[in-house]
Every structure is written in structure tokens, then in C-alpha cells.
């Protein structure tokens, strides 16, 4: 029974993790940019949800729309205005650039909101449900459900819409896409903006689960890295598989190795994968 509960916890955790990674993976896979800002975007999404709830009483799940839109615009501006200038530059440059931008945004948030942890408390929390001895924390279940919905939405967007297909085209072959008439600069900006949107949405959903502070941004980013390597870059199913895998690994890791090691376990798996199978579980090649 204990093992089953831990599995369930892992799956729920994994569902949330998948949402963290999906936007990050998209940006990395399509633009070949590691967006260090991703963690900070998530925290910003959480703050938007927090204040929307505090001042207007909006439920965090509903404020997904608000935070998603705000982050979309922010992401678009940042990419089109700054990142696009170096998008063809070596890895070191783009990585350092997003690192610098992250410092800026994080510090701005620290000044605006202070480092004090905020916690969003729902007056009508859903509580837990006992399912034949297994405890289901309903807030998390709802959160994961919403996350799955968003992820599925992104997946359909990439497959079926014109813009989505253009994004996939750029991911597959940048030059060929240009020849086909795709305006790559615009696609770059839209992709990045979409990644930011997913981050903002994740932040909203997380606001009822985790305490909110700019200090947490690095934690989210670390998970995103591991999931992308686990699941492969640039693909939505990959991020989902990677996320769920990580959640389950961490849950069982905490059981067998002790909670102090579960994070390290993730990183050790990451290194092992990088050494032996960099394309991840799904086997899709990312950029080199």
C-alpha cells in the first residue's frame, strides 16, 4: 500500500513537473536557446496569481489566463528585442545572455515583492479524498488535470495550427523553413512567448501548492533541465514522459535513499544519461 501511495504521489508530482518542462523544452528544441529565465517566469506567474487572488479574489486556476497572457507578451518582447540578436551565436553566448537577463528580472522581483515567502491559501480548499486507502490530495489532482489540459492544448497547437506547423518546421530545419516562406524571426518570438506562457500558467497552478518567492526560481529550472534530458528536446510528449518519470523516480528515491538524496538522484541520472544516451528516453535528437 505504501508503494502504491508513493507511486501516486510520484505521478501527481510528475504531472506538475511536466508542465514546468514543456515550455522550456520547446524553446530549447526550436530556438536552441537554454532559457535560464524559465524558472523566474514561473515564479512571476505565481505572483500574478497570488495578487489576483489577494486583490480580486480570482481563483488561481482562472488566473492561468491572466498570467499566461502577461508572460506571453513579456516573453515576446524579450525574445524579439534582445535574444533574437544573438540567436545564431554560439551556445555560450545565448546561455550567458539568458543568465544575465534572469539576474535582472529576478532582482527586479526581489525589489518589488521582497524575498518573504507568500502563500496563497484557498478558503474553499478541496481537501483530500480517500480512495480505498490511497489518499488523493484533490488540489494537486485538479492542478495536474489543468496542467494536462494545457499541455494537450499546446500539443494540438503544434500539430494542427499554421503557426504550430511553422514552429515545428523551424525546429526540423531552419534554412528549409525560411525557403518555404516561414518568417523565422516571428516564429522565434512566438515560440519563446509560448514557452513563457506555459511557465506563467505553471506558476499560477503552483501558487496553491508551493510558497512563492524569487528565491525558488533556480529549483524549477533545475527540474526543467533534468526532464528535458530525460525526455528529449522540443517535443511535448517527451516533456510529459520526462516529467512523470522524474516525479516517480524522486518519490521512490526518497523512500529508498532518504529524502536528502532525491534531488541528487535526479542529477546523477541526468549525468548518466548524458554520458550514455543524450537523446533521452524518447530517443529524439536535440541540437548539438
Amino acid at each position: 500500500m505504501l508503494y502504491l501511495q508513493i507511486l501516486l504521489n510520484g505521478l501527481l508530482l510528475g504531472g506538475l513537473y511536466a508542465l514546468i518542462a514543456v515550455g522550456f523544452s520547446l524553446v530549447w528544441g526550436v530556438l536552441n536557446v537554454i532559457n535560464i529565465l524559465h524558472g523566474t517566469f514561473i515564479v512571476l506567474g505565481s505572483y500574478i496569481a497570488y495578487f489576483a487572488h489577494l486583490y480580486f479574489g480570482i481563483h488561481p486556476f482562472a488566473s492561468v489566463i491572466i498570467s499566461g497572457s502577461v508572460l506571453f507578451c513579456l516573453g515576446y518582447v524579450i525574445q524579439a528585442g534582445i535574444i533574437n540578436r544573438v540567436v545564431a551565436a554560439p551556445v555560450l553566448m545565448t546561455l550567458t545572455l539568458t543568465f544575465g537577463l534572469d539576474l535582472l528580472l529576478n532582482n527586479a522581483m526581489l525589489i518589488a515583492f521582497t524575498a518573504d515567502y507568500r502563500k496563497l491559501i484557498l478558503t474553499d480548499s478541496l481537501g483530500s479524498y480517500d480512495l480505498w486507502g490511497l489518499i488523493l490530495p484533490l488540489n494537486r489532482v485538479a492542478g495536474v488535470g489543468l496542467a494536462a489540459l494545457l499541455t494537450f492544448g499546446l500539443y494540438r497547437l503544434l500539430r494542427d495550427s499554421n503557426i504550430g506547423r511553422a514552429i515545428v518546421a523551424v525546429r526540423m530545419d531552419r534554412e528549409a523553413a525560411t525557403l518555404m516562406g516561414v518568417r523565422v524571426n516571428r516564429i522565434n518570438a512566438v515560440t519563446f512567448a509560448l514557452g513563457a506562457l506555459m511557465a506563467g500558467a505553471a506558476g499560477s497552478i503552483f501558487s496553491i501548492i508551493y510558497p512563492i518567492s524569487p528565491i525558488n526560481s533556480g529549483l524549477f529550472l533545475g527540474k526543467a533541465f533534468v526532464i528535458c534530458i530525460l525526455g528529449g528536446l522540443g517535443s511535448v510528449p517527451g516533456a510529459m514522459i520526462g516529467g512523470i518519470a522524474l516525479g516517480v523516480i524522486e518519490s521512490y528515491g526518497a523512500l529508498f535513499l532518504g529524502p536528502e538524496h532525491s534531488t541528487t538522484l535526479a542529477f546523477v541520472i541526468l549525468i548518466a544519461l548524458l554520458i550514455f544516451r543524450p537523446t533521452g528516453i524518447m530517443g529524439r535528437k536535440g541540437y548539438e
Binding site: 544575465g100 533541465f225 542529477f267 549525468i271 548539438e288
Partner: protein, 307 residues
């Protein structure tokens, strides 16, 4: 001309503790340390073109090896050398595992190494003190003598690193690094054993950093995992090299001095926004000075002419 300038600079730096107060000596020690970090990263990142984020890993290893040895009674000088050696061996082994990766994957692997090492140190608290940190015994000498000791020690390591950089730059090794940076496949075809060269570059980027880490531990007398396995210990040297000029001999030093100057000004006057300012510096650097200040054509910039 250049040789005379270098000679004068070295003499001036040697005499520094006799002219400056404690603050200046401390600042100069930090500058020497920064120079070591920047010059070291330059081997793997600037010359060979591999974006390594492992500097913090080597620094942390050096600091802990130094601390553990000293806690067991080993003379500090020997501890420092041993720390550098262990860092070098670690880099060689780690290099074998991850140097076949390219671009982002290599960057992440080296970054994650820092995290893993930090947790390993945290966990093995019997030897390392874990989350409670480690104390290094204070040397029983006067405050001034202590300041001078650490200054000169860092200075020597910096000089060693600089000499190595210069030698490598002008040698076949340096040529090989540059080939690898430009086109690794072609370099292999031309007979450059890229695996061997990369490992050497990576190891070079570790040995002096390890020594600096050990000296640092003795200097501050107390270390904890999050402080010596700190990602900023990697990022700052990268920024310094970017500032000064990637792949050159003196670029990293120029970058280190400039960066330290900025850092001191900012730390004194702009406490609450210092990381934002660092971020701004990085953004401006990447956008406008990708090759570093040494390559920046000041005259053209001011006359507004485009190349």
C-alpha cells in the same frame, strides 16, 4: 616594451603590501584569485571553445581537499598543492566522461557536476561537516603577516597560471585548441587528437582553480557547500573573459581587474540592485562586445562608422 611593462607590473605587485592598507591587500588577493579563475576557464572555454561550467566544481573540490588535509594536520602549503593535484585528476576523469558531448549538453553536464558534488559533500558529513561546514585552523601569525601570506600565495598561483597560458598559447597545444574551437572534425582529420587535447584543456582549467580554492579555504577559515560550490564562481570568470577577450593571454586578467573594479563600486553603492547590475553588464557584453574589450574597436565606435 611589453617585457619591461610586465616586469614593472610584477615588481609593483610584489611591493604592494608595503604600501597599501589591509583593505587594498585583501582586494588585491581577490583580484589574484579572479585572475586565476578567469585564466583557467580561458583554456577550455576561450581557447578550445567548450562552454564549461565546471569551474565551481574544481574550486569546491580544492577548497574541501585543502580543508580536510589541514584538519588532519597537513602543512597548508602541501595541502594546497595536493588540492590542485586532486582537482586535476578529477577533471581528467570527469573529462573522459563528458567531453564527447557538444554545445549545450556539455554545458549542462558540467553545470550539473557542481550540483552533484555539492550534495555529495553535504551528505558525507563525517568527513566534510556536511551542512554545518568546516573550520580551517587559524594560522598563529599576525594579521598583517597573514594578509601578506595569502596575497603572495594567490599571486604565485596567478603567475603560474599566466605563465602556463602564455606557454600554451604559443605552443602546438594552443594551436590545437584553436583548431578544435574552429572545427573539431577538421582538426581531427588534420591529425589533432581532439580527445587528448580537450582533456588537457579541461585539466588545465582545473588544477590552478583547485589550488586557489584551497588557499581561499585557508584564507576565510570556514567553508560550507553552498558557498564554494557556487554557480557564480563559474559565471563570473566567464564574464571576465568575455570582458577582456576570449582566447587571448592577457584578456582574462584585464577582464578580472575590470570586473573587480565594477563589483566593488556596485557593492559599495548599489546594494539592493547589485545582481541586476551584474545582469545588465552581462547583457550589454553579450550584445555589444562578444569578443571582449581587447577586440573592441573604440575608434570606429566613436566615429560611428560601420565595418
Amino acid at each position: 616594451m611589453k617585457k619591461i611593462a610586465i616586469f614593472v607590473a610584477i615588481v609593483a605587485l610584489l611591493a604592494l603590501p608595503y604600501f597599501g592598507n589591509n583593505y587594498i591587500v585583501r582586494l588585491a588577493t581577490v583580484m589574484m584569485m579572479y585572475s586565476v579563475l578567469a585564466l583557467s576557464w580561458n583554456f577550455i572555454g576561450g581557447m578550445a571553445g567548450y562552454p564549461s561550467f565546471a569551474t565551481a566544481a574544481f574550486f569546491g573540490i580544492g577548497a574541501y581537499v585543502g580543508a580536510i588535509l589541514q584538519a588532519n594536520g597537513i602543512f597548508f602549503g602541501a595541502a594546497w598543492f595536493a588540492a590542485g593535484l586532486i582537482a586535476l585528476i578529477f577533471a581528467a576523469i570527469m573529462g573522459r566522461a563528458i567531453l564527447h558531448l557538444r554545445g549545450h549538453y556539455f554545458a549542462i553536464a558540467s553545470l550539473v557536476m557542481v550540483e552533484v558534488l555539492r550534495e555529495v559533500v553535504n551528505t558525507n558529513d563525517q568527513i566534510t561537516g556536511g551542512g554545518m561546514g568546516m573550520n580551517i585552523p587559524i594560522l598563529k601569525i599576525s594579521v598583517e603577516a597573514s594578509g601578506m601570506l595569502f596575497y603572495y600565495s594567490m599571486f604565485v598561483v596567478a603567475l603560474l597560471t599566466l605563465a602556463t597560458t602564455s606557454w600554451v598559447y604559443h605552443s602546438k597545444l594552443g594551436f590545437g585548441f584553436r583548431c578544435i574551437q574552429q572545427n573539431e572534425a577538421a582538426a581531427n582529420m588534420l591529425g589533432v587528437d581532439s580527445t587528448k587535447y580537450k582533456t588537457i584543456a579541461f585539466s588545465l582549467s582545473a588544477v590552478f582553480v583547485g589550488m586557489a580554492g584551497a588557499i581561499y579555504a585557508s584564507w576565510v577559515n570556514y567553508i560550507e557547500p553552498p558557498d564554494v560550490f557556487d554557480i557564480f564562481l563559474t559565471i563570473k570568470p566567464v564574464v571576465m573573459v568575455l570582458l577582456g577577450g576570449m582566447g587571448t593571454v592577457f584578456g582574462p586578467i584585464i577582464g578580472a581587474v575590470a570586473f573587480l573594479a565594477l563589483e566593488e563600486i556596485v557593492w559599495r553603492n548599489f546594494l539592493t540592485i547589485h545582481s541586476a547590475l551584474l545582469g545588465l553588464l552581462i547583457v550589454l557584453l553579450v550584445l555589444f562586445l562578444p569578443k571582449g574589450a581587447l577586440f573592441f574597436d573604440y575608434r570606429q565606435f566613436f566615429r560611428g562608422r560601420k565595418k
